[in-house]
Amino acid sequence: MTPTEAFPGLTPNNHHTTSPASDDYNCIAWSAGDNENWWQPNVFWPIQTSPNDFGIGVLEQLFHALGYEDCGLDFSLELGIEKVALFGNSLYYTHSARQLPNGKWTSKLGKAEDIEHDTPQIIAGGVYGELVQVMKRPIPT
């Protein structure tokens, strides 16, 4: 699967690669500021979950536990606030991205590279399904 097939909204003008590929960590870890662990329910996950639940609700619970609150689909830049965007389909959570202080977004693409992209929607519509929710919290001091 090529990046274009996986992410129909991704173009050379709206993103750039920021790291080499790594299978040491995934997008959830990266959104949470960790590049050493592969975050997965029942394996490495800071909260208890149901054994066979891998849906978007599990991801929402995770970021809620990390201090984030639901802010609908508002992915605008707010001073002193950091945001994460959650993606999923009818069965699974698929991805999370984190907003950078410059208002752009950073994503770890599975086992592939990290990228910086203009908006969360750019990586929706392909293998990640839809942008389901944005959550925010005050930037920790």
Binding site: E36, N37, W38, F44
Partner: protein, 88 residues
């Protein structure tokens, strides 16, 4: 295995990765797939842990290694060596 690697390249949810057809086919091979998975794990650590646990009904990964892909692979390889499934 190559097909699964290709299809799972951009995925982060291991459950979603494990439901891909190539992965399910490997699980469906049962114990005969275990040496192949272990060789692949030794060559390049990846998310084969779900398959190994499903086939062997075992999980030798210590708590402190959970989430650390290379340490998880190492735990499975040590398990396999003890089981006589893998030559050192």
């Amino acid at each position: 295995m190559r097909q699964w690697k290709e299809e799972s390249r951009f995925l982060s949810n291991t459950a979603q990765m494990a439901m891909l057809k190539p992965y399910q086919r490997i699980i469906g091979m049962g114990w005969s797939a275990v040496p192949l998975i272990l060789e692949e794990l030794r060559r390049e650590p990846d998310q084969w842990f779900w398959a190994l646990e499903a086939i062997t009904d075992d999980n030798p990964v210590p708590l402190q290694a959970a989430g650390k892909v290379r340490l998880m692979a190492q735990a499975w390889l040590e398990w396999a060596t003890k089981q006589g499934l893998l030559r050192t």
